[in-house]
């Protein structure tokens, strides 16, 4: 409660989430341009904005918006037009439950993790809609690839989150962060560690692999695969709708990183930072952790080629899912016997 009036609070929260999300997404776009450029012996954007090309994401967005808004003649117009908004809305909705500090959270749901997984898999629906309604064979193939891929990778993602929930004993994201901040007694020592260092390292790796696949980023960007399917489900999109997808992609990158940071890296909490300071420093700690994870994703993108669809399914069903099931067993055993 900020002002005490329900509707005013609601609008303020929505605006805050939108501004933070779009702001972070623009920073991620800029980071992608610059980080990849420097990994590739280039300078990257240089002129827009006058210094370091900082205005390049804005220039890109403006350019995209100026384009003609095309709807193919054979397309299912209503579905075609609404698909990008579903993707963006689902991505933005994940930020409702992510805690930037113990009090700075739009809604601290008891079933936060459950809500997060449910709402983030809605993006699949938007992508399938886009692929199906475009009346383009490349779009259709891209959409179907996305559908198959997201189903395959939703499972290991959920299973690793289950292991975290088992260890934390709660599904509330604030609760999960507090569980990581809670000190554990090791003989005379009393230390608190993020879940990553408390036996979740396998879970973290699987979560990140599945997250990259969920985000359709290289090496798992087969739904878009510009050298095979031109642009996959994005082929027929232009103008504002394309911008929506584009922004949604980077927003999803931020939100996935935020979830990973919250579940495994301690979220807004950090060791040696006093409890009282966390309210103010917390958001910056979380954003720093997000930045590290986003950087890793950019690094992966400039290092690896694209896998093939069957190889991706192979990886998911034969490796990630069995290992994440074993991970739940291991974490459960750890939880019952050790702590």
């Amino acid at each position: 409660m900020i002002t005490g009036y329900f509707w005013v609070d609601l609008i303020l929260k929505v605006v805050a989430v939108l501004v933070v999300m779009i702001g972070l997404a623009l920073v991620a776009i800029y980071a992608e341009l610059k980080v990849m450029a420097h990994m590739q012996n280039r300078i990257g954007p240089y002129y827009a904005g006058g210094r370091w090309g900082w205005a390049q994401p804005f220039a890109d967005a403006l350019k995209f918006i100026q384009k003609e808004d095309l709807v193919p003649a054979g397309a299912d117009a209503a579905i075609f037009k609404s698909a990008p908004y579903i993707v963006v809305a689902a991505t933005f909705a994940t930020f409702v439950v992510i805690p930037f500090s113990s009090s700075l959270v739009a809604r601290n749901l008891d079933l936060g993790v459950f809500f997060l997984l449910a709402i983030s898999s809605l993006t699949t629906l938007g992508v399938l809609m886009a692929g199906w309604s475009s009346a383009n064979k490349y779009s259709l193939m891209g959409g179907l690839r996305a559908g198959a891929q997201l189903i395959a990778y939703e499972l290991p993602l959920v299973l690793t989150v289950v292991a975290v929930v088992v260890q934390a004993g709660t599904m509330s994201l604030v609760g999960i962060v507090e569980a990581q901040a809670a000190p554990i007694e090791l003989g005379p020592l009393s230390i608190s560690l993020p879940f990553l260092l408390k036996g979740q390292i396998v879970g973290f790796v699987i979560f990140m692999v599945a997250a990259v696949a969920e985000l359709s980023r290289i090496p798992f960007d087969m739904p878009i695969a510009e050298s095979e399917l031109t642009m996959g489900y994005l082929t027929e999109y232009s103008s504002l709708r394309f911008t929506m997808f584009f922004l949604g992609e980077y927003a999803a990158m931020i939100s996935m990183s935020a979830v990973a940071a919250t579940l495994f890296l301690g979220g807004y909490w950090m060791p040696f930072v006093p409890e009282s300071a966390l309210t103010y420093v917390g958001p910056f700690i979380l954003i720093a952790k997000i930045a590290v994870l986003v950087f890793f994703m950019l690094w992966i993108r400039s290092t690896w080629p694209r896998l093939r669809e069957d190889q991706l399914q192979d990886l998911a069903w034969r490796w990630l899912i069995p290992v994440s099931l074993a991970n739940i067993l291991f974490v459960g055993f750890f939880k019952v016997v050790v702590f």
Binding site: Q40, M141, E228, W304, R306, R308, D310
Partner: protein
């Protein structure tokens, strides 16, 4: 009431035995598509992601070079032939000019022949670097492109320093090579030889190229995901490769160590020491690997040639208006992409009666329907890219 499980089972068996009726989708890839290297069009029949048949449609870039040759003098043609395969322009100039030299009986001085050899190998390096850097790009890896093109730029600068052109040198003349860049009234005095310091500079750049291939090895060759995408994909056995008339690295990757530089050369290739690189499986990975090794061999050839190049004139005496006697000749050379040949028929006079161009990419492309049958759509890109064709070379 008891359930008749037998009947249910029977019903399900019936349902399973009826095959799902599906229809193949015709996917039109190109002529405007990111990975068709220009304007190749493939009409593919796909069952899901699996290709059941593919038909290449070519001719979008037909420029009629064979016909153009009939209305141009021999000297004018060098400017055109290096635009057939534009990534290795000089290498396709050389067989043509040698064919004309054979018809006229004019022989190029030794120094000119060595310079032709050096430039051919430099264009081979340039062409192969374009392949080794852009091939990962087709598989989705963007970084190798920028790392490899850096070294290619050095090579192109040298080529520009020598010939005045980066892509289209137009440097060969009947009886030798054009005097190097320079000009005006004093051309005869200042530029009857290659630019000063060019050979030393080339030596340094070749060392850098060798270093760059090592970089490619660490960045690309050993990469697990690159291997996953290319090893065992698009296998062409040696006999099939010969059947379809493949040549160059595509043929050698299939384990046939055939290289015109060893078997039928018109430049002093017998005086330099180099290996013919051959693969084993003829898959996409081998085709990539063979080209990467050929960059090394080409750099070694250039380094040896720089030590062996004799002094002397660049051009022997040839008449201003070149009249070629009646006759016909076929000359072929090892272009970076494979065998490149010219069949010239002269009825006497300044222009050829007929010029038949045996271009490499056209023959290399002909195996596409065979090798793509049963492949997946992502493999289509990997296989097509690994054949390394240039559309200008296909359509001429």
């Amino acid at each position: 009431m008891t359930t008749d499980y037998g009947a249910l089972m029977h019903r399900s068996e019936v349902a399973v035995s009826v095959e799902l009726q599906t229809q193949d989708m015709t996917l039109n890839i190109g002529p405007q598509h990111p990975s068709t290297h220009g304007v190749l069009r493939l009409v593919a029949n796909v069952d899901g992601e699996r290709i059941s048949g593919v038909e290449p449609v070519i001719g979008y870039m037909h420029r009629g070079y064979e016909k153009l040759a009939e209305v141009r003098t021999y000297a004018q043609m060098t400017a055109l032939v290096n635009r057939i395969d534009w990534v290795s322009g000089f290498a396709s100039e050389v067989p043509f000019i040698i064919a004309v030299e054979k018809l006229t009986g004019i022989e190029a001085p030794e120094r000119a022949q060595w310079i032709r050899l050096i430039l051919t190998e430099m264009f081979r390096i340039s062409s192969h670097i374009v392949f080794t850097s852009s091939y990962p790009l087709e598989l989705g890896a963007t970084t190798p492109l920028f790392h490899a093109l850096r070294e290619r730029e050095r090579v192109l600068e040298l080529i520009e320093g020598m010939t005045g052109g980066r892509f289209h040198p137009n440097f060969n003349r009947v009886g030798g090579i054009k005097p190097a860049a320079g000009g005006g009234k004093t051309q005869k005095q200042v530029s009857m030889d290659i630019p000063a310091g060019w050979l030393e500079e080339t030596k340094a750049v070749m060392e850098r190229v060798l270093g760059a291939t090592d970089d490619s090895d660490t960045l690309v060759t050993g990469n697990e995901l690159i291997k996953a995408r290319t090893v065992g994909v698009g296998c062409i056995p040696g006999d099939k490769a010969i059947e379809y008339g493949l040549s160059g690295p595509n043929l050698r990757a299939s384990g046939v160590p055939f290289d015109l530089r060893k078997h039928e050369f018109h430049l002093p290739y017998d005086q330099v020491d180099f290996d013919v690189i051959a693969g084993q499986n003829g898959d996409c990975y081998d085709r990539y690997w063979v080209r990467l090794q050929e960059i090394r061999e080409a750099a070694k050839i250039v380094l040896q040639a720089i030590d062996k190049i004799p002094p002397g004139p660049l051009r022997s005496k040839a008449p201003r208006v070149l009249k070629v006697p009646k006759g016909q000749v076929y000359v072929r050379g090892e272009n970076p992409k494979g065998e490149f040949g010219y069949f010239v028929i002269s009825e006497g006079g300044q222009k050829p009666y007929r010029l038949k161009i045996r271009s490499t990419s056209f023959s290399n492309l002909s195996i596409l329907p065979w090798v793509l049958k049963g492949a997946l759509v992502p493999d289509l890109v990997a296989i097509m890219g690994s054949l390394d064709f240039v559309l200008g070379d296909v359509d001429r």
